[in-house]
């Protein structure tokens, strides 16, 4: 079968809703796009541990500390599910991780903003994980089997992340005037960067059409962003918080919240590496990798000694 008819047959499988598995034939570009997308997703989970990890030692209670530790551990786990799924496409783990450590790979821009107060931990759980759930629920139906299965696993865990965040948001919004001020301040700082998580407008998103054609995505950036806004505006109002957008207005006819324009200059600036925390995040990630070196060496040495002891015994 020639390349063209293989591609046609592949598209037929996608259109029939079939799942593509690692050993199946796939166009080289499908493979490359998935490696790009999935490795960026994995990096985002891993870098995403940093802003919140920053607050573990300063959690306000033991309960909150245990929850945050568990959430940050989950993010590491999500990174591992995704690295594992990316490897099924033939990308080596080492290569993918090196790309991150060498600063060549992208990850979600949201993690290039600083976490200035404990209220940020609450708002990240509510907004950032809330946005991630909307994106990942769609990806759980992705045409590539290992990606979709990793997403199903991740979505189950993300709902705890969002709920613990919203619980804290509600608690602070119902707290002392200082707590109310803190939580509103965090919402004011995180709202717009969270909207940017869904990426550029559909017209400026060169990859979208192709990813939709291949069944990797089933909704556009703007559609996903709209469902995020609809859900979270009502959750904000429920607990008496303001959304920092003067143009926000409910459209009775469409049943959607209309919102103001995103500052795209800021978006591209952060994507290009000039956000408030880009350099800091990469520095921390490299240090974490470097500081883990002795653990990797110890594990290897332990395995070697056990192997030797076993050989001796036999």
């Amino acid at each position: 079968m020639d390349e063209e008819s293989k591609k046609e047959k592949f598209q037929e499988r996608i259109d029939n809703g079939e799942t593509i598995e690692p050993k199946d034939w796939m166009p080289e570009r499908y493979r490359k796009q998935l490696i790009r997308m999935m490795s960026q997703h994995a990096h985002s989970e891993v870098v995403g541990m940093l802003p919140e990890g920053n607050w573990i030692t300063r959690a306000p209670s033991l309960r909150r500390k245990m929850i945050l530790l568990s959430k940050v551990q989950d993010e590491a786990g999500h990174g591992l599910y995704l690295y594992s799924a990316t490897e099924t496409l033939g990308a080596s783990r080492q290569e993918v991780i090196d790309q991150l450590l060498e600063g060549k790979a992208k990850y979600s821009s949201i993690f290039n903003y600083p976490t200035l107060s404990w209220a940020d931990v609450a708002v990240i759980g509510w907004l950032v994980d809330g946005a991630a759930i909307i994106n990942q629920t769609m990806l759980a139906r992705s045409s590539y089997g290992p990606y979709s299965r990793a997403m199903v696993r991740i979505c189950k865990e993300e709902s705890f992340h969002k709920k613990q965040g919203y619980e804290m948001v509600a608690t602070m919004a119902d707290g002392t005037p200082e707590q109310q001020e803190m939580i509103q301040d965090a919402v004011d700082r995180w709202w717009w960067p969270t909207l940017m998580m869904f990426g550029p407008h559909d017209d400026d998103s060169p990859n979208s059409a192709e990813l939709i054609k291949w069944g990797v995505k089933s909704k556009t950036n703007d559609e996903l962003r709209q469902s995020f806004v609809d859900r979270h505006v009502s959750e904000a109002h429920e607990v008496g918080l303001e959304i920092p957008d003067e143009d926000l207005e409910y459209n009775e006819e469409t049943g959607h919240w209309e919102f103001g324009e995103i500052d795209w200059d800021e978006f591209w600036n952060v994507v290009k590496g000039n956000g408030p925390m880009n350099k800091e995040r990469m520095k921390s990630r490299r240090e974490a990798h470097e500081n883990g070196k002795w653990v990797r060496e110890a594990a290897e040495e332990y395995a070697r000694k056990k192997r030797l002891a076993k050989e001796k015994a036999s």
């Binding site: 050993k23 034939w25 786990g77 080596s92 783990r93 290569e95 290897e300 395995a303």
Partner: protein, 123 residues
């Protein structure tokens, strides 16, 4: 370097590795240890199911890592880890010819048979 990068069960195409690599190193820089496939048994009496994969220096650490990565919420009562390069799988694209011996044997299914109603009720 200590562990040559292993070809995974999915990367059957010998040219693939080359295509993927942007650096054209002849020497592998992979120090991520052998790859293991993880299978978890969700409950007593249920069969094991593929959960994902991970890297570990030996089987014991592979099991412990599998517990931490794939069973943080009691998703398993038992775990198998198998070196990925030990798994042999049929090819998706050959599914038709590979499985067609079963295609012309409808008599292996109960629907193939018609029996008197009375005996149906009794069962």
């Amino acid at each position: 370097m200590r562990y040559p990068s292993r070809s995974r069960l999915s990367t059957h195409d010998p040219n693939l590795k080359e295509n993927m690599s942007e650096k054209n190193d002849t020497e592998s820089k992979d120090t991520q240890w052998p790859l293991w496939e993880v299978f978890t048994q969700p409950r007593d009496g249920k069969p094991h199911e593929h959960a994902g994969s991970l890297h570990a220096p030996d089987a014991e650490m592979a099991l412990e890592n599998a517990r931490d990565v794939y069973a943080r919420r009691k998703e398993a009562v038992n775990i198998w880890v198998v070196p990925s390069d030990q798994i042999v799988a049929s090819k998706g694209e050959d599914a038709g010819p590979f499985f067609d011996p079963a295609d012309d044997k409808p008599y292996r299914h109960p629907q193939f048979y018609s029996v008197p109603r009375a005996s149906k009720r009794r069962s």
